[in-house]
Symmetry: C2
Subunit: 122 residues, 2 copies
DNA sequence: CGCTGCTATCTTGCTTTGCAAGGTAGACGT
DNA sequence: ACGTCTACCTTGCAAAGCAAGATAGCAGCG
């Protein structure tokens, strides 16, 4: 499971990415994230995040009826949100580059196979 | 610059990775991180992190003289630290997979030209 | 009708962690 | 003596994920 600390800062960009093409509502987003492989992201995480984005002006909300429950609050990206998403992509890749470079300079990935067993430690 | 929130949880694993092959001291680590592309990671971040790892038993410390200043506190990975490093690698790749899949399922990375257009002068 | 369960939203309070700001101190040059 | 670089540490703040719980609509069952 991905540790919660490692999700900080990343989740927000991911939610922006989810909203990039179509409107979605919070409950749906929470389920989407699990499908994408983030593990269970509880509602106590998703809803405050969405409210934060809404207050900041990154997304806008509109209530619409649901066929099977209470109203849904659909969110859509604003221009600001689109820009923040682009910046998220940039930052995320910058972090990736740094981590990859660090790993490479310090001996590469452990490879998890018999590599280490063959050498017995270095 | 990489936002500080996005470093959370990642920095710790990166410091473990830096210590994987050779002992290093805090001041050095702080400078290394900048070289690897993480931006300036201030000492108010690095030292508490190292003390945390030491208390937890992930690393051990030993003072040694410096040719050009006060004593240096060199840190080395323990077995526990090695295990945590391996787990960090696993978690980091799991997060990467999730983000990459999410990005792909929502339309892929924006094209480089759009990137440049959106953030031409920064 | 009450009960259970799914859908759907929000809030409170806790915890972790990066960081700004500041403090201490050794070594060295001017 | 003073400034600067090296090198360590601490205090207190802010951001964000999350557990736990509150609220409420809707549907089926006994």
């Amino acid at each position: 499971m991905i540790p919660s600390q490692m999700l900080k800062g990343t989740l927000e960009g991911c939610v922006l990415a989810i909203l990039r093409q179509e409107e979605r509502y919070g409950y749906e987003i929470s389920q989407n994230l699990e499908c994408y492989g983030f593990g269970r992201i509880p509602e106590g995480t998703v809803y405050p995040l969405l409210l934060r984005l809404e207050k900041r002006g990154s997304i806008t909300a509109s209530f619409r009826a649901s066929p099977e429950g209470p109203q849904r609050k659909y969110y859509a990206l604003t221009d600001l949100g689109q820009k923040e998403l682009t910046e998220f992509f940039r930052n995320y890749r910058e972090l990736n580059r740094a981590v990859e470079q660090l790993i490479e300079m310090t001996g590469g990935y452990p490879h998890a196979q018999e590599d280490e067993a063959a050498f017995g430690g270095e």
